[in-house]
């Protein structure tokens, strides 16, 4: 589904990603871990096609098509989608109006979906204005449910979310990734950034990767990597023998 080869990315004049290789098959969910500032969000923003992230070398192939030079909307139309950690506040733009725009006249039960994420009362509110951490994440998940991408990138979906809401958001993300389906039937893929690993209770992640200093240093079973990091921190990753 997604194939990233030797990806180098500049933010401003500085190279932040130094040759990323990553392959995600259809139906797989991968987890990306790594210390703050290691380049995880940069990778997701680059994959989504944000203009501030300049690809200087390498390719991104999605479903067999080279999307490296495409704008965000073209990537979204091909089935890529993202849950933002800190989405912008847009004054005057009502959440309900955005959801209608995202649906592109498809028949979608917007009030029903909003209700399922306890967002029914937010449809007439300016998007993200005065939203709490949990409300922002619920709004993001709601937008993704309508967009219904084949490949979902999730930037710290559990940060700022209380325990009660984690299960609500986790289950919704699980259904976005078709986790209720048998493995062989799953077609949707995901790439999840997490620090705490709480979200892993709702997604059976297939593979884990650790990013340090703009490079993926280590791959493995996500729960084992997480356990390792919890016990020893990221220090050993920096010196990881797998690198």
């Amino acid at each position: 589904m997604l194939d990233i080869r030797d990806l180098h990315v500049n933010v401003g004049d500085r190279e932040v990603l130094h040759g990323i290789n990553l392959h995600i098959d259809a139906g797989e969910t991968h987890v990306l871990m790594g210390p703050n500032g290691s380049g995880k969000t940069t990778l997701l923003m680059t994959l989504m096609g944000f203009s501030g992230y300049k690809i200087t070398k390498g390719t991104i192939t999605f479903n067999g098509e080279d999307v490296t030079a495409m704008h965000a909307d073209e990537r979204a139309k091909r089935g890529m989608g993202m849950l933002f950690q800190r989405p912008p506040t847009i004054s005057g733009l009502k959440l309900g109006k955005l959801l209608t725009a995202i649906s592109h006249d498809k028949e979608v039960d917007i009030p029903g979906l909003a209700g399922s994420l306890h967002m029914g009362g937010f449809l007439e509110r300016d998007i993200n204005k005065g939203f709490s951490g949990g409300e922002i994440k619920r709004s993001e998940v709601l937008q993704l449910m309508i967009q219904n991408p084949d490949f979902v990138m999730l930037d710290e979906p559990e940060s700022g979310v209380d325990i009660e809401n984690i299960s609500l958001i986790g289950n919704a993300i699980g259904s976005l990734l078709e986790k209720e389906k048998r493995i062989v039937k799953r077609a949707k893929s995901g790439l999840v950034i997490t620090h705490t690993g709480f979200i892993l209770d709702y997604l059976d992640a297939d593979k884990g990767h650790v990013m340090c200093d703009g490079m993926i240093k280590c791959h493995g079973n996500p729960r084992e990597i997480l356990k390792d990091i919890k016990q020893r921190g990221y220090k050993e990753c920096l010196e990881c023998r797998h690198s």
Partner: protein, 371 residues
């Protein structure tokens, strides 16, 4: 009584311009209508009991007491425009009187249509007597073909008595040759409410206006909202002013200004003369193409106990907002239009739904054309 408000000699295209200005040609959703083409009064009626829509001439013949309301809120010698209107031998315009305790649910529409290269002058008087509630829409438009030299001079005097409420929504659809000089002022008495909305989404050569509300009565309220887009050749100098005199009086002045290359001067002035008064002024500007948005917010407190504030900001469309929407599958043009639409979305508290919908529809037309 005609079932349709079809102005004589006005083409289908120009009728559409009236519709864009909020005029309901079938008059289905209006309780009364006034139509003036150049200097001719074509139509003037109201079906709501206790509310009168009269031509200026007829009103003066009918009610002698109206003299007290003429050149009272607006000074006759204020400037060249008022002097010009005052010097007319045959003053024209409308007089709307909502008698004591009356209320209209469907708005009254007043349509001032300029069809040739002339100066159209009007003198309007709007009176809401004690406890009355009056909602009106003023659609001012010209023919698309009207050339240089066409001007509109409009004096409007509003009198909002004790416990009365007036909402006045003015939508302009001129063209790039036309100069427009509204001169309006309102006097609001105890517990009175005056809502004034101005929408200008279409090109115009020049607009200059500075409507003023004097809040004389205790707990009187004024809310002004201005939504304007300046096309490359447009010069829009639009302000609003509130004078807080009555104890507990409050005012809110909100402007959304966009330039696509033209000039917008956004003035605002709140004068707090009495303790216990409150005022807030807000101006947000968006520069889509190099032009000018010049915001001059003034707050002027004279006594202990008046609370006045303002916020003004001018900027461009934020790239991260555009790309956020693009990541949801909206094209760049759709994302841009969606954000601009949100920027212009000012909900006016207390405005009837029909009028809010009309304002939204006028903005929708501009949105469809890509702003």
């Amino acid at each position: 009584m005609p079932s349709q408000l079809i102005p004589p000699g006005i083409s289908k295209d120009d009728q559409e311009r009236l519709v864009q200005s909020g005029i309901d040609l079938k008059m289905e959703n209006r309780c009364g209508s006034y139509l003036q083409v150049n200097q001719d009064v074509v139509h003037s009626e109201c079906s709501e009991t206790g509310i009168e829509v009269l031509s200026y001439k007829k009103a003066m013949e009918k009610y002698d007491w109206l003299k007290e309301y003429v050149w009272n809120a607006v000074a006759k010698d204020k400037d060249e425009i008022t002097k010009y209107v005052a010097a007319q031998e045959k003053p024209q315009g409308y007089v709307i009187i909502a008698h004591k305790g009356t209320k209209n649910i469907l708005p009254i529409q007043a349509c001032l249509y300029l069809g040739r290269e002339t100066i159209q002058h009007v003198h309007n008087i709007i009176i809401a007597e004690e406890g009355a509630e009056l909602h009106m829409i003023s659609g001012c438009a010209s023919g698309g073909h009207v050339g240089e030299g066409a001007k509109h001079y409009g004096v409007s005097e509003f009198y909002i008595k004790k416990d009365a409420k007036v909402s006045f929504t003015m939508i302009h659809t001129w063209n790039e040759n036309i100069e427009v000089f509204p001169r309006s002022a309102s006097i609001v008495e105890e517990n009175g409410v005056f809502l004034s909305n101005y929408v200008c989404m279409q090109p115009v050569k020049k607009v200059q206006m500075y409507p003023t509300a004097t809040l004389k009565g205790e707990n009187s309220v004024a809310r002004f909202s201005t939504i304007a887009i300046a096309s490359p050749t447009s010069y829009i100098d639009a302000g609003s002013r509130a004078i807080l005199e009555g104890k507990g009086a409050s005012a809110e002045l909100v402007t959304r200004a966009i330039t696509r290359g033209g000039t917008i001067i956004s003035r605002g002035h709140i004068l707090g003369k009495t303790a216990g008064t409150k005022g807030h002024l807000e101006c947000k500007g968006l520069i889509l193409k190099d032009g000018m948005i010049y915001a001059i917010p003034e707050i002027d407190g004279r006594v202990v106990g008046t609370e006045l504030s303002h916020e003004a900001a001018v900027g461009k469309l934020a790239q991260d907002e555009i790309e956020y929407l693009m990541s949801r599958g909206l094209s760049e043009d759709e994302a841009t239009a969606t954000i601009i639409r949100g920027f212009l979305d000012v909900k006016i508290a207390g405005l009837p739904e029909a009028l809010q919908k009309q304002i939204d529809a006028t903005i929708d037309v501009a949105e469809k054309a890509g702003f």
